[in-house]
């Protein structure tokens, strides 16, 4: 049985989070009653003209820089002509001949790179709803700015595809150009997929799969299509180049195009818009506004701060979390406790993705740091840190409000011994159990010591001493 390899490229549309649409001043805000975020320009009334939103260009350039692209000094807008009810002008203003960004890449964790062929700006179409044989059209989304990111066919596995999209999401969110939510449609992936015998250099015929609005669907679609193509080839046939739709109900891919859809887009230069000329100085100015790449940040957390990969990737996933974390440990402070508090206590409270992204918690980084500094200095124990921080999360008051001078300072040997003896005296049954050989019963005695010590005792030391005393 021949072994086949997957060859895959992705075309991703990312909705930019500018305030207004790409060619008019209508809001890009999500939702709203149908056709209430529209104007003569974005519904393409006769006589209207597009005006390019400066921020769209800036966001696209930043997206290009964050993915290692070259930014074109001269780029132009083109018309892509096709007739469909969600496209009011019967053409989409896009960039075909001279896109804004080219030749970038996103690195994968296995050391390979997914090369980005180009990134260009374009406008989104409206929304169609097919119901009861009728077609309803809402143009609120029409004119929302998009960047289209097209890769080379460098992806070799479904895992790589998933990782590429996750990294793309991470980067776009990190630099603040899009919230990249697949379920909401601010991130849409089309997959170009073909198969070939392993070791072959030639590209097989590819098909394009559209309409997968979750990671799960994307993976299932790719799995199905890969197998389908292999079956066709093994059966002696050849794969037909076509556009497919993923059908989630039946978990299959099916042909999408009808004979009415001709493929000739007749691209030509958009005469209503002028050239975009970006100088190297402007590019550098935009580059300076970029935060550290989340991929680099994650690597730094692992390599320099010694955090486990899993923790590092969770911290980096939400820019505000990572920023907060770094503020807490600024100047080379110990990273692990801070990470644990954030990923443990705080994340337990921030249950939704939105909450984690917003990371709106009361304690300031400085307040958490103060608390952790006391821990570091040995003035308090971890369990006191936790209980104090819970109260800080509730109230926003500083650590000092919940930890007095008395609580600080560890117990010396004599004090610990006294507390252990007190605990033994207060819990005769547990003490007897331990003497009888049930060592587990010592936990109850440790608990007694800890309560009395109000967090100033070290649990392990207490346990050791108790066992000794009860021998």
């Amino acid at each position: 049985m021949k072994e086949y390899e997957l060859v895959c490229g992705l075309e991703t549309h990312v909705e930019l989070s500018t305030k207004t649409k790409i060619f008019c001043g209508c809001t890009t805000a999500f939702g709203g009653e149908p056709n209430t975020h529209c104007c003569p320009v974005c519904i393409g009334l006769p006589g209207t003209l597009p005006c390019l939103n400066r921020s769209v260009v800036d966001y696209a350039i930043r997206a290009g820089l964050a993915t290692n692209c070259e930014i074109a000094e001269i780029s132009k807008m083109d018309r892509k002509n096709y007739s469909y009810p969600d496209l009011p002008k019967a053409y989409q203003i896009s960039q075909y001949y001279m896109p804004l960004c080219q030749n970038g890449y996103i690195p994968l964790s296995n050391g390979r790179k997914v090369r980005i062929l180009r990134i260009h700006i374009e406008e989104d179409a409206g929304k169609l709803i097919h119901e009861r044989g009728n077609t309803y059209i809402d143009y609120n989304r029409g004119g929302v700015p998009l960047i289209e990111i097209i890769t080379e066919p460098d992806i070799r596995s479904i895992d790589e595809a998933r990782e590429y999209v996750e990294k793309l999401q991470l980067i776009m969110r990190h630099i603040g150009v899009s919230d990249c939510k697949m379920q909401e449609g601010s991130l849409r992936c089309d997959v170009n997929i073909s198969v070939r015998p392993k070791g072959s250099e030639k590209l097989g015929t590819r098909t394009e799969i559209k309409n997968m609005n979750s990671f799960t669907f994307m993976e299932r679609a790719m799995e199905y299509e890969m197998e389908r193509q292999i079956d066709v080839i093994e059966g002696g046939g050849s794969v037909v180049q076509e556009t497919l739709r993923y059908n989630p109900d039946e978990d299959i891919t099916e042909s999408m195009r009808s004979k009415e859809d001709a493929h000739d887009y007749r691209y030509f230069r958009e005469p209503d818009l002028v050239t975009i000329h970006v100088t190297p100085e402007e590019v550098e100015a935009l580059r300076a506004t970029l935060p550290e790449s989340p991929i680099d940040r994650q690597a730094r957390y692992v390599n320099e701060l010694g955090l486990p990969e899993k923790d590092a990737s969770l911290l980096v996933k939400y820019k505000k979390v990572a920023d907060y974390f770094e503020a807490v440990i600024e100047g080379g402070f110990n990273a692990k406790p801070a990470a644990n508090v954030i990923l443990g206590q705080v994340f337990r409270r921030l249950t939704t993705e939105e909450a984690k992204e917003a990371f709106d918690i009361l304690p300031t980084p400085a307040q958490l740091r103060e608390l952790l500094e006391w821990l570091e200095a040995g003035k308090i124990r971890m369990n006191l840190v936790k209980s104090a921080f819970e109260k800080m999360l509730d109230t926003g008051r500083p650590a000092g409000d919940f930890i007095s001078e008395d609580d600080m300072g560890g117990l010396d040997e004599a004090a610990l011994r006294k507390l252990c003896e007190d605990s033994i005296a207060a819990n005769p049954k547990a003490a007897d159990d331990v003497r009888a050989g049930k060592e587990k019963a010592v936990k109850a005695l440790v608990g007694g010591v800890m309560r009395a010590a109000k967090g100033r005792a070290d649990a392990q030391a207490a346990e050791k001493l108790l066992l000794e005393l009860l021998k």
């Binding site: 921020s55 007739s83 002028v274």
Partner: protein, 95 residues
């Protein structure tokens, strides 16, 4: 030579319905027009880099929200609307 098949293809792209009777005469007319357009073949010109007529560049608008028009205005000229949307109603042969 502009073939009837080419006319049909163009009509499909341009979303025009050309009846069978119209196709032949239209193909003849198009041929004449294309022949007229073909006179540029004799021109010896390379890439002049012609872009836009006045060489303007970087004309932008600021990313500031302007009021949209009310829904009734947007829908005003449409023949068929429902629930705030433009509608294309199914209209089969048996009606």
């Amino acid at each position: 030579m502009v073939t009837p098949e080419e006319i049909r293809q163009l009509a499909l792209l341009a979303k025009l319905e050309i009846s069978e009777e119209e196709i032949e005469p239209l193909a003849r007319q198009m041929e004449k027009i294309i022949a007229f357009a073909d006179t540029i073949n004799s021109a010896d010109v390379g890439d002049t880099g012609f872009d836009t007529i006045n060489g303007l560049e970087n004309v932008f608008r600021a990313d500031e929200v302007l009021p949209s028009l009310p829904q009734e205005e947007i829908l005003k000229n449409a023949e068929s609307t429902a629930d705030g949307c433009f509608v294309v109603r199914k209209r089969g042969a048996a009606r």
